[in-house]
Amino acid sequence: MGDHGGIEDCIRVSQSIVQWFRFASPQSFYPLAGRMVPWFWAAAAIFGIAGLWMSFFVAPTDAQQGEGYRIIFVHVPASWMSMFIYLVMAFWAGLGLALNTRVSSMMAQALAPTGALMAALSLWTGALWGKPMWGAWWVWDARLTSELILFFLYLGFMALQAAIDDPRRADKAGAILALVGVVNIPIIYFSVKWWNTLHQGSSVNLAKSSMATTMLWGMLLMALAFWMYSIAVALMRVRAIILERERHTEWVKHAVA
C-alpha cells in the first residue's frame, strides 16, 4: 500500500513538473495569464471594497491618534507587499538564471515596478502619517531607513535592466543583482535596527498593544486586496513583456491575429 502510494506520488510530482515546464514556455503562459487576470481583479475589488468598508465605517476611532490612524489600512499592506514582492522577484530571477526558463525572468521583470510602487506608497503614506504623529515628515528610524533602501534596490534593479539592450543579458545581470540584494536585505534590516536602537530609546513608538479586532480585520482585508492587485497587474505586465520579447516568433503572429 505504502509502496503503491509512493509510486503514485512520484507520478504526480513528475506530472506537475511537466505541467510546470509547460507553463514555463511563454507560448502557453501568455493565454493562461490572460485568463487569470480578470479573476485576480475581481478578488482585488471584492477584498478592497470590504477592506475599505471595514477601515472607514466599522473600525473605531483610535484613542490616541484619533482618525489619523486610519492610514494604517494602506500603509501596512503597502509595506508588507513591498518586502514580499522583492522576495518573489528574486526567486523568479534566480530560477531564470539557474534553469534558463524565460518566463520566470520575464515575471521578475514584471514584478519590479509593482514592488517599487509599493515601496513608494509605503514611504509616502508613512511620511503622511509621521507628520501628524511625530511632527516630522521623516526621521531616520530603522524601519523607515530600511524601507528607503529597499526602494533603492528596486530602482537599481529596474535601472540596470533598462540600461542593457539585449534582454537575455539584462535578465542574467538583473538576476545576479536581485540575488545579491536578497542576501543583503536581512543584513540591512538588522544593521539598521541595531544602529537605531544604540543611540536613543525609541521615541518613535506606536501604541499598538491593543489593536481592536475590527482594525485587524480591516488591515488583513486590505492586505489581501493589495496582494491580489499586485498579482493582477504583474500578470498584465508580463503579457506585454512576453509579446515584446517574442515578437518574431510564429506563435505571437498568430496570437495577435
Partner: protein, 64 residues
C-alpha cells in the same frame, strides 16, 4: 458607525490632509499602474498588427 455627517467623514477628525493624502495617492497610483500596463500591452499588439500588414503588403507587391 462613528460618522454623523458627510462633512465629518471628509474632515477625518482634522487629519483630512494626511488620511486622504495617503488613500488618494494609493488610489491614484493603483489606477495609473494597471492603466499603463494595459497601454503597454495594447501598444505591442498594435505594432504587431502593423508589422503583419506590412508583411502582407510586401508579399502582394512581390507577387505582382
Amino acid at each position: 458607525m462613528q460618522w454623523h455627517s458627510v462633512g465629518e467623514f471628509f474632515a477625518m477628525g482634522g487629519y483630512a490632509l494626511y488620511v486622504w493624502g495617503s488613500f488618494g495617492a494609493c488610489a491614484l497610483l493603483m489606477v495609473a499602474e494597471p492603466f499603463l500596463a494595459r497601454r503597454r500591452l495594447i501598444e505591442v499588439r498594435r505594432s504587431l498588427i502593423r508589422e503583419r500588414l506590412a508583411d502582407e503588403l510586401e508579399s502582394q507587391q512581390r507577387t505582382r
